[in-house]
């Protein structure tokens, strides 16, 4: 939740309007769930088994507490969007990145200011291994969950935020040639 509060702080000045809009949307989401809670829950479980997976996934891939924290945070964030009826379903089918999907789903100009969070494993100025580790985490996740698994998207976002494009291209090439030096 801290993420959300920080975001609100950052956007406070200019985006009060959109915040209000979001709140109203959330309220409207909450109301039907109060009216017919059971239906909602059933729908949720039918629509989004992936979210449940995403909570389990990092533990399975040998992540530590921090990763699971991040996962928990993400699942919190995504859950309201998934509670949305139609549009989020469509977008989750095409699932490229959570972020853009949410934006499309909400159809508001609100932008989620979001990037790879600081990682306590890499608390120093030198972030080289941070980038490398995120890249490896993504590909191990893909290897475990299958190509295009939505719970791996966040790792992809992280390594794309952190690594220079040139490095990623080189590593992709090395993976294709089977000469990638990391533990995949």
């Amino acid at each position: 939740m801290s993420k959300v509060s920080v975001k609100q702080y950052l956007l406070e000045e200019k985006e009060k309007k959109s915040d209000v809009a979001v709140k109203s949307v959330e309220e409207s989401e909450v109301k039907p769930s109060v009216d017919a809670p059971t239906e909602e829950i059933v729908q949720k479980t039918e629509e989004t088994p992936t979210v449940v997976d995403s909570e389990v996934a990092p533990g399975a891939t040998g992540g530590d507490s921090e990763v699971s924290d991040v996962a928990a945070g993400d699942s919190k964030e995504t859950s309201p969007a998934d509670a949305n009826p139609a549009p989020s379903e469509e977008s989750s089918d095409t699932a490229e990145s959570e972020n853009t999907n949410n934006q499309e789903a909400e159809e508001t100009p609100e932008i989620k200011l979001e990037t790879a969070p600081a990682d306590f494993r890499f608390p120093t100025t030198n972030q080289t291994r941070h980038c490398f580790t995120r890249y490896i985490e993504y590909h191990r996740c893909i290897a475990a969950k299958g190509e295009g698994a939505p719970e791996c998207d966040k790792f992809a976002k992280y390594y794309r935020s952190l690594c220079p494009g040139e490095w990623v291209d080189r590593w992709n090439e090395q993976r294709e040639n089977g000469t990638f030096p990391g533990p995949l």
Binding site: S2, K3, V6, K7, L10, L11, E13, K14, E15, E96, S97, N99, T100, Q103, P109, E110, I111, L113, E114, T115, A116, P117, A118, P123, T124, T125, N126, Q127, T128, H130, C131, K157, R160, S161, L162, C163, P164, G165, E166, V168, D169, N172
Partner: protein, 277 residues
Amino acid sequence: MIVLECLFLTIAPCDAAEPWQLGSQDAATPMMQGIIDLHHDIFFFLILIFVFVSWILVRALWHFHYKKNPIPQRIVHGTTIEILWTIFPSIILMFIAIPSFALLYSMDEVVVDPAITIKAIGHQWYWTYEYSDYNSGDEQSLTFDSYTIPEDDPELGQSRLLEVDNRVVVPEKTHLRIIVTPADVPHSWAVPSLGVKCDAVPGRLNQTSISVQREGVYYGQCSEICGTNHAFMRAPGNIGRLLSPLWLSRTNQGASHPRSKLLQRAAGAVWSRGARQ
């Protein structure tokens, strides 16, 4: 008089260096404000010590002149004075060291929750910037090169050898993570107004965090000798106009098109130098 005017009476343009400038450029980040404050703090002690030492020197020269005092006294020991001149300087050093270390370590601090990551990649002799927080594929990042405007074609009103063709545009009052790395030789990404100087070391990603407090155009330069055109790598590229987070909403939509028109316009990059890419 002219010299005096040059030294003291010039009007400082906010965020660019000026001829005969003595102090720092105006601070735009808390970090730079801290640096300037530390400078002033230390100068307090510096002037105090300077006056005191000068006074002792002049007094000694005056009173112990060989005409006044032909036979020097031979004092080889004075416990009290020795204790005094050991203790007092250490106390002064402590007063300088405490704020200095506080600032140093706060600069080292990694911001827990940065909002944007910008990658600055040094080349001989320009900077490439990547915004890739909103990528959905490996090939789609918003990437552009930032060259210095050469000496012979700045437009009226532009600072000579400070302007670049494509500015970096970032939102103000937002925690930014800047990741600095070169693609060839070591460079260093420095912007004085922001109090940032981050070495770019080949094969390594260095991170620095800034939070810019006001809008403006900030200039910087490469701070590591990186070859022939080092002096013209005016590029840590000036951080461009710093807009509100609303700016992001536009860039984000434009992010799918590298070199989006919107970004360029926002950055005031009207020159078609981008064709070099």
